[in-house]
Amino acid sequence: MKSFQGQTLSWQVSAGTIELVLDRAPCNEIGLAALGELEKFAAALESLQRDAHALIISSARAEGFCAGADLRELYERSQELRAAERASAVRDFLERIHRVMNAIDAAPLTTVAAVHGVTFGGGFELALTCDLIVADKMARFCFPELRLGLIPGFGGIPRLKRDTGNAVVRDLLLTGRSINAAKAQSVGLVSQVTAEGDALRVSRATAAQIGKFDRGTAIAAKRFIKPIPHEELRREIDVFCELFTRPAVEAGLRKFVESTDALPYLP
């Protein structure tokens, strides 16, 4: 399928670049619907990549790239299930999302996340699957999972470790604070910072540049320099699932869902 228009995202191929656009109100939260369409995309990638040298992932939502997992859906679904079923359901969800993330991470294309605004949790993890992150100056990055009694579960920790120093990983994970694009660039996470609203344009220019080089060489180079941390990714799922069954998590999710706080996104 060279183009697709779904409920939560769309994609099309143009000038050798696949453009995947996230578009689910309010801020591309990843629940079952988004996961289903991301799986469709991952399945289509094999044929799409034959006519492309680059993939750009961006968001059509003004609020930002992606605020992460759909916590309301996660809480509501977990309330419908018995304790033993909850653990199994969450593992199933994580394994599915990991398959999608791994497919994008390993894609034989140069991949670019064009981000703006809120790039939190699972959204940050999606961006980290890409070879390059181009961020507009208003982008903010965050792993807020600890305030829910969890760790990032979509592959964020192994990928963050792959891309930056352990001190940065500890800072982001243990404080749950958000950092701006300039800070993210200074620690090596963001490739280019752009003017507000310009991340997609710059990503397209970057994709055009990438298209000038021999594709086979680019693929070989990417495989050489960008290992997929499979063992750690599997371990992350195990740790997440162990934590998920704890009462603190249900309490954290309930607090988020019921919050009337002005700043529910803050740790």
Binding site: G117, R140, C142, S178, A182, P264, Y265, L266, P267
Partner: protein, 80 residues
């Protein structure tokens, strides 16, 4: 104007420009959520603009319990 007053004034000007609220309507003791009519995502936007303007990093947890411009200025001042 002492440094804290200057910082407060700069925040009020920044907020006025970005959220299109007349500067004359903003005061140091105002609740910025109510006065600017902003939600949590817009508050993060304001945080980024503040960081850029003052060339500082201001961790979000420094904003816990902060809702008026003057207290926000104090948090910023401690990073200058």
């Amino acid at each position: 104007m002492n440094p804290l007053e200057k910082t407060t004034d700069e925040i009020l000007r920044l907020a006025s420009e970005h959220f299109k609220v007349p500067r004359a309507e903003l005061n140091a003791g105002d609740d910025f959520f109510k006065k600017l009519g902003i939600n949590s995502l817009q508050a993060l936007d304001l945080l980024t603009r503040i960081e850029q303007h003052f060339h500082i990093e201001l961790p979000d947890y420094e904003l816990q319990g902060v809702s008026d411009f003057k207290t926000l200025a104090e948090r910023i001042q401690s990073r200058l």
